[in-house]
Each structure stands twice: as structure tokens, then as C-alpha cells.
């Protein structure tokens, strides 16, 4: 995928630094609680299910299903205007957690709920990669 440096770059903070570092290696990390074993997306200091602070990072297989989607026809800010129409999807990972990304690929606009998708990484410049999804059949 072509570099699109004008688009927002990932911003890492203390909660998410390992997530974005892994993305630079084309790996999708999610959080698992060592106490209750539940997985969650959006890294944070404690487990949102049991409040244990004993958390570990695990590699997601990067596969899931489209839980819902929209095709953005009018971009919210000028930065994305050149991309419109583009697809925003809520992906339910096979491991359970849900995340929101774009659906990328030539057939993205034919998206439907239930489509199988797999992780892809979009170059946002300077080695920063943003997890995205594409249809698995592609």
C-alpha cells in the first residue's frame, strides 16, 4: 500500500505503546487478563472485566468478521476528503474483542455484514503502520 503521510499517524501513550510498536512489525496485539483470562480491545491499565492489573499482550490471529459497517460519503475533516467514499467497519475478531478500522482493498465498497476479514497494515509514513482489515477472499 502506498504511503499516505497526510493521514493521521498513530499516537502511542503509556497504555498503547506496545500495541503500536507491534503494528510496526505487522502484528496485531490484544490484551488478555492473567486473572480472569478475558480478552479486551483498547489497551488500558487494568482489566475492564475484573480489575486485575495483571495483564499480558497476546498476538491476535488477525482474522474476524464484519459486525457492522458504513461507507463514509462525506468525510468529517478535509484530511480524509480525498479518500471518500471509504469504508469504516466494526470487526469482531475471532478471539472475541471488537475494533473499528477501515476496510481496505479494491472490493471494499462491496462490504457486507458477516464478511470474513483479515488484518492488513497501512503505511502512514516513517515506519508507522496502522492496523486495517481487508476481505479474506481478496
Amino acid at each position: 500500500m502506498d504511503a499516505t503521510p497526510q493521514l493521521p499517524k498513530p499516537v502511542a501513550n503509556a497504555d498503547s505503546q506496545p500495541y503500536w510498536a507491534a503494528a510496526r512489525e505487522r502484528r496485531l496485539l490484544i490484551r488478555r487478563c492473567s486473572a480472569c483470562q478475558q480478552l479486551h480491545f483498547m489497551p488500558r491499565y487494568l482489566c475492564p472485566h475484573c480489575w486485575s492489573d495483571q495483564l499480558e499482550w497476546v498476538d491476535s490471529k488477525g482474522a474476524g468478521v464484519v459486525h457492522s459497517f458504513t461507507i463514509i460519503r462525506r468525510a468529517p475533516i478535509a484530511t480524509f476528503a480525498g479518500n471518500a467514499p471509504y469504508v469504516v467497519v466494526m470487526v469482531e475478531l475471532d478471539e472475541g474483542p471488537r475494533m473499528i478500522t477501515n476496510l481496505v482493498g479494491d472490493d471494499a465498497l462491496q462490504v457486507a455484514i458477516g464478511d470474513r476479514v483479515s488484518v492488513a497494515f497501512e503505511d502512514r509514513g516513517d515506519g508507522d503502520l496502522l492496523p486495517q482489515f481487508q476481505r479474506s477472499s481478496a
Binding site: L7, V11, I71, P76, V88, M90, I100, T101, L130
Partner: protein
């Protein structure tokens, strides 16, 4: 989930004045000016004096650069209260502010509280700036980098509702048509022209399946209401409208963390409000539901028990939500056609409920309206608050 019901504040407070500023494009007034105009109109209606106000609650503003908005508004109005806050629960703020006001009055922290919100969102900034500032509702690190938008989030909810229940684009469009028909009966509504189903369906697409006319307005508007103790309410100018039940529930902020795209917190906020009021959906004569996008009142009708899950779209399409129908919804025209300006959007539902319960609205009047339900939601169906009001103590 709480096991214990809240201490009832039923029958203990009343709304004794409501006010709307000029609405639409009002470039000759500032955001604070719109708040002040609405507050003045609400106070005049009640017959109270500014010195009677000992509490003030307001929400937030995207257009004016103030930090402590609660204090800023009091300063602007020349009020030195013993109870004050700026409360941010997005669109849910007005109903949550009513709840906080009621609790403060019942616990003796204040007797008469002004609840006020509004912004010059149409003319205080460019349309692009308005849309861009709302992008901040998306998660800054995990949603915004994907070009998400508020219409886009609600579109994903609509898409899921269509997938699970068979709700149609046309049924959502009927919500916009419905509210516009009501707005035409309101002298102060932003939108003044009739709207057809075909026009809604043909409107510029924003985020599939939502078009421009599935999205709420961007208005200059301020709204206000005055809450006081039931005792103090007895001898005022306006007929008191009593709070019967109120409940809130919060499940997430960002859509990626929502527990479900088809089940939200309105079911629980409604349950709390109904339990406090000792009433159920069958007792409600008129409902003012949050309608930032056409899918939202469909979901709220279902969650608040006015129809079964999946039947909200048909409820609108079959005309049950019209004035004269089974349950008139958004009799002022809602945020789709009356006004939307930040937290004032949902506040106008409260204003309209009070007016309906007082009666005398002519063509717009829901005949025999005695009990009204107001539902506000904020974020992406994240924060919910349901209020039940009546024109007599229950």
C-alpha cells in the same frame, strides 16, 4: 447493575418555567446570549425573580472558548448561586441535569435551579468547523485515525439494526418526515418547509445508510427550564409540571467499546424511571425522544417499551408517532427539524413535554396529555437518561 432502587424523588420537584431563544441562524446573538435569552424567558414564565435562583446547571459549548462554563454562565447572568456545575454527558446532559437539580433540591442544597444550555453552532463557526469539532467524539487514538464521524458511528448502528431486524431505509426516512410535519406546527422551529419521503431518500448521502436529512440540524439555539420544590411551585405563575420518575444508565463512550450495537442503556434508564413513577409505557401520552439521527428514536421506542425490538421503524412508517396517533413522538419537531445546538437539542424535548402537559398548543396539542416521557442520550447511544413528567402529582 444496582440492586437497590434509588430513593424516590417522585412528586418532590416541578418544572415551573421553560424557555427557548430565537432559533435558526441568529448571527446577532452570542452563544451565552442565546442561553441568557432562554433563561430570561423561562424565568418570566415562572414569575420568579433572578434573586430566587440559588442553583445553576449548564452543559458545554463547542463554539465559545470557556473552560468553567457553569461559572461563566452565572457571571454572565449576574447570579451568585450556592449550587453550580457544568455537566457533560453529551446529548444526555439536559435530562441528567434535571436529575441532579431534583436531587439537590430534595437534599436541601438549593431551592430553585436554572438548567440552561445552548450554542451559536450555526453561525459561531463554519459548517466545516462544526463537523470537525464533533469528530472529537471518536476515540482519539483508536477511532479518529480511521476517519470516523458521528454520522458514521450512528450509521453502523443503523446498518446493524437493518441486518438484525429488517428495518428499512424508508422507515428511517419516515422519522424525518414525521418530525418535520410536527415542526411545521411549531412557531419557533428552525425548519419551516414541508418534507417528503422522496426528498429524504434523495438527499445527499453522508454515511450509508444515512443521508443529509437523516441527520439533525446545526442551529443557533438556547433552551432553559426552572426546577423548584413542589412546595415552592404551588403559588407561581405557570402550572407546575411534576417530576414522576427519572433514571440514567451509561454503558460506554466509544462505539468500539459498546457492549452491543442493538441493545443500549435506554432499557435500563427507562426501567429506573418507570419504577420510580410507578408507571409503564402504556401510561405515557406523549414522548420526546432524542433524534440526532433517524435510527435513534426507532431504537428508543423499542428500548423504552413502546413496541417490540425491531418494530420501531414500522411504528413510525404506520403513523403511530404522529400527533393524533397511538404515541405522538417529538411533537415540536425534534432535533431533526426544530433545533439542534449541543446540549440544547435534547433540552427542547423537556421544554416541549412541559408545554404539552400544560395544554393549549392548538393544532400541535396532544389531546388529553397528562404524562410525558423525555429521553436524552449522549455520545454514541452511550449515556442515557429518561424522565417522566406529569401535570398532576401521581
Amino acid at each position: 447493575m444496582s440492586k437497590k432502587n434509588a430513593t424516590s424523588i417522585k412528586n418532590q420537584v416541578a418544572i415551573v418555567g421553560v424557555g427557548e431563544s430565537e432559533i435558526g441562524r441568529v448571527p446577532h446573538m452570542s452563544g451565552l446570549g442565546l442561553n441568557a435569552q432562554a433563561a430570561k424567558r423561562a424565568l418570566d414564565e415562572s414569575g420568579l425573580k433572578p434573586s430566587d435562583i440559588d442553583g445553576v446547571l449548564t452543559a458545554y459549548s463547542f463554539t465559545e472558548p470557556y473552560f468553567m462554563l457553569g461559572s461563566v454562565l452565572c457571571e454572565y447572568l449576574g447570579i451568585q448561586p450556592r449550587f453550580n456545575a457544568s455537566l457533560i454527558a453529551g446529548g444526555a446532559s439536559p435530562a441528567v441535569m434535571l436529575k441532579h437539580a431534583a436531587e439537590a433540591i430534595v437534599s436541601g442544597q438549593a431551592e430553585t435551579i436554572l438548567v440552561c444550555a445552548g450554542e451559536n453552532r450555526a453561525t459561531g463557526q463554519s459548517r466545516d468547523a462544526a463537523v470537525a469539532s464533533l469528530m472529537a467524539v471518536g476515540h482519539p487514538y483508536f477511532e479518529q485515525p480511521y476517519g470516523t464521524s458521528i454520522p458514521g458511528f450512528y450509521a453502523m448502528i443503523a446498518q446493524r439494526h437493518m441486518h438484525v431486524y429488517g428495518t428499512t431505509r424508508e422507515q428511517m426516512a419516515e422519522v424525518a418526515v414525521n418530525t418535520r410535519a410536527h415542526a411545521l406546527l411549531h412557531p419557533n422551529a428552525h425548519m419551516k418547509k414541508p418534507l417528503t419521503l422522496e426528498e429524504v431518500l434523495a438527499a445527499k448521502p453522508i454515511a450509508d445508510p444515512l443521508g443529509m436529512l437523516d441527520c439533525c440540524l446545526i442551529s443557533d439555539a438556547g433552551g432553559a427550564f426552572i426546577v423548584t420544590s413542589a412546595e415552592r411551585a404551588q403559588d407561581l405563575k405557570a402550572k407546575p409540571i411534576y417530576l414522576q420518575g427519572i433514571g440514567e444508565f451509561h454503558t460506554h463512550e466509544h462505539l468500539m467499546c459498546a457492549p452491543s450495537l442493538t441493545e443500549f442503556g435506554a432499557t435500563e434508564s427507562g426501567r429506573i424511571a418507570y419504577a420510580m413513577a410507578g408507571l409503564g409505557p402504556q401510561d405515557i401520552d406523549v414522548a420526546e425522544l432524542y433524534d440526532c439521527f433517524t435510527i435513534v428514536p426507532i431504537i428508543e421506542l423499542e428500548e423504552l417499551g413502546f413496541c417490540k425490538p425491531g418494530e420501531g421503524g414500522a411504528f413510525f412508517a404506520e403513523g403511530h408517532a404522529r400527533i393524533g396517533g397511538r404515541l405522538p413522538v417529538n411533537t415540536h419537531g425534534g432535533m431533526l427539524s426544530h433545533a439542534h445546538a449541543g446540549a440544547a437539542g435534547g433540552l427542547f424535548g423537556m421544554v416541549e413535554a412541559v408545554r404539552q402537559l400544560r395544554g393549549g398548543l392548538g393544532e400541535r396539542q396532544v389531546q388529553g396529555a397528562e404524562v410525558a416521557l423525555v429521553h436524552n442520550e449522549g455520545g454514541i447511544l452511550s449515556s442515557h437518561c429518561t424522565a417522566i413528567l406529569a401535570n398532576a402529582k401521581g
